[in-house]
Amino acid sequence: MRKSLAVRIANFVIGWSAAIVFFFPIFWMALTAFKTEPAAIATPPKLLFSPTMINMRAVLDSADYLHFFQNSLIISCAATLLAIILGTPAAYAMAFFPGGRTKDVLVWMLSTKMMPAVGVLVPIYLIFRDAGLLDTHVGLIAIYTLMNLPIVVWLIYTFFKDIPKDLIEAARMDGARPLSQFFFLLLPLTAPGFASTGLLSVIFIWNEAFWSINLTVTNATPLTAFIASFSSPQGLFWAKLSAASLLAIAPIMLLGWLTQKQLVRGLTFGAVK
């Protein structure tokens, strides 16, 4: 059935409005990064201005960007990999051998995400202090793995659920063991799902600020701590803060842009569609 013109126009307008609303803050941040500090807070806001690289230079001069970038990269990739390695067997068991309480377990896992992080800051901080994990890559990788595990399990579970059980049965009849079933049947079929799960996990970790700021000092500080250092209680700082933010999100935006096909394909593949 063909949609009426009015519906198509409405969809177009709503779609573009939503896109503009989501994109505008990033666009404005990118513009502000190239303004002078007074121009950044000018009233009315300036759309036309002479761009300057002064903020980028100031930001790069005052902090070691590569150190923060390297930490973000190591921590987000390692934690994502670990979460997928730990989450996949759980999702497999729950998808193909569900018990009476499988749904409850899944909901319970997700409910752990609903607790405000600050509520467990002091106990986690004390555990990290006593275990010597403060300001270490291992510490942050552990916390991010645990933080993302519920989402990873849920996503992979929904991708596995979409695979007809008959296929697994057939493979089993042909003598395939669980590992062979996984590597030669399930993995190729759900590869886009794994890719989007990994990408989403990397994005979540890359943007996480609370734990990274509270559990690190200098050695393991990722890019979120880099951004936080440019906010100032006194004096103008918006242009420099925007420049720092642009530098921090640029790698992840580039990754999202390069992999947008896989992301969309993965997200529309499972139950998140």
Binding site: P38, T43, V122, A228, L236
Partner: protein, 437 residues
């Protein structure tokens, strides 16, 4: 014999080189304001003269830093060796035994040169728990050109009634000029930090000597009515969300006829990269109502060493350097006199070069010297602090009060309702904390 001598010399050289490489790392937690940024840049000089000390910098936004440092010091984690703290934390943490005292400052440090009001604010029972890096008070900034054009004269010590009269005359929203800019943004370090000294200036206080809250007193009502009334009638639109930075931007762009805020704003208003009103700014004391006790606050950013630090001696060595008269001279010689950290040393204000470069210096000094952190109000109180109350519960009380005061500005609540709510919340908090029954 010669071989033995060579062997001894070689061993000594080896030992010396090993000890040269045995560097102590000092981790410094600080805020991102211009004075701290300069300190970070100039600290390379310290590292050059102290090759056995390596400095690590952690720069964070003020509220994040406060939370981060509090977690670290309360759990004795020892992640930081130097902490940037204020007059609010230093006496509290010193009393709790969380900070290492500065027991024997070197003679060259000249501790008596540090301004007494600031030094005393960072000490408990005669022990110095932090050393000031810069200090500030409050003052009135006004546009001399607008005052001249309107035939007005700002007294050196204006009253709130003077400010209201001037604001009424100079308010001209059609030309983008508002009579007065004040902080409306909620927060214990934002509007509450400004309204509390204003209330002191009307003879109000947060607590009586028995820790009973006094927020519904006629003095508090007069102060809050004056402050919010001025902003509502002659303030810029959206004043309820304006803090220091927003008002700085407004005044620097020529949109405010008067602004009452931190003395440190003077150096921003004299900065060509930030201000369009250079040479047009006059300075006066902060206004008062009926009392001249505690009507302008005192704040200092200071450096302290937690007892949990593993490098206490090196940390204190750095602090002595960063707050010394030599450091001030170093800033002056590399960045100019206008950039030196204000409000800490008498010798800074005795320098002709500084007085020439900073026309606001005398007013800043007068404001700072006329404060007494431990006697902040007309009637006696059991607490220290002028723009705050020096108890751990104040962060929560101030946050609630800030929201209530802003609600008056937005018209959601009356002055009586807001003060009544703050009174109730304060009573409940103080009962729960065991101050009152």
């Amino acid at each position: 014999m010669r071989h033995i001598r060579t062997l001894v010399t070689a061993s000594a050289m080896l030992l010396a080189s090993v000890s040269a490489y045995a560097q102590t790392t000092v981790t410094i937690g600080t805020v991102n304001n211009s004075d701290m940024v300069v300190m970070k840049e100039l600290s390379k000089k310290f590292e050059e003269s102290h090759p056995n000390i390596k400095l690590n910098w952690v720069v964070l936004e003020e509220n994040v830093l406060r939370q981060r440092l509090t977690t670290d010091i309360a759990t004795k984690s020892g992640q930081f060796d130097v902490m940037t703290i204020g007059l609010y934390e230093a006496p509290m943490w010193g009393k709790l035994g969380w900070l290492a005292p500065f027991e024997n400052p070197p003679d060259s440090y000249r501790i008596d040169d540090v301004l007494k009001s600031v030094r005393d604010g960072l000490a408990v029972d005669g022990k110095q728990y932090a050393l000031p890096f810069y200090a500030e008070s409050q003052m009135t900034f006004y546009r001399k050109d607008l005052f001249d054009a309107a035939g007005l004269t700002m007294p050196e010590e204006p009253k709130w009634t003077d400010i209201e009269r001037f604001a009424e005359k100079l308010n001209n929203p059609n030309k983008g000029i508002y009579g007065i800019c004040l902080r409306g943004k909620p927060g214990w370090g934002e509007n509450v930090g400004q309204i509390t000294p204003a209330a002191n200036g009307f003879g109000a206080r947060w607590f009586d000597m028995d820790w009973k809250p006094q927020l519904t007193s006629p003095e508090w009502k007069a102060a809050l009515t004056t402050y919010t009334g001025l902003l509502k009638k002659y303030g810029p639109p959206g004043a309820a969300s304006n803090g220091f930075n927003e008002n700085l931007a407004l005044f620097a762009s020529g949109n405010c006829a008067m602004w009452i805020d931190a003395t440190v704003a003077a150096s921003f208003l004299a900065d060509q990269n930030q201000s369009t009103v250079i040479g047009k700014v006059g300075y006066a004391m902060s206004p008062y109502g009926t009392s001249k006790t505690g009507y302008h606050y005192l704040w200092a950013w200071a450096l302290g060493v937690p007892v949990s630090s593993k490098s206490k001696a090196a940390a204190q060595e750095f602090i002595y350097w960063a707050t010394s008269p030599e450091y001030i001279k170093l800033v002056a010689s590399t960045r100019g006199w206008a950039a030196v950290p204000p409000g800490t040393r008498t010798s800074t204000y005795a320098s002709k070069e500084y007085l020439d470069a900073a026309p606001f210096a005398k007013m800043t000094l007068k404001s700072i010297e006329s404060t007494d952190l431990r006697n902040p109000t007309k009637d006696k109180v059991p607490y220290y602090g002028i723009g705050f109350v020096g108890i751990p519960e104040f962060q929560s009380l101030g946050t609630t009060a800030g929201q209530e005061f802003t609600a008056v500005l937005t018209g959601e609540k009356t002055v009586d309702q807001a003060l009544g709510n703050v009174q109730k919340f304060t009573e409940r908090t103080m009962k729960e904390a065991g101050y009152i029954k």
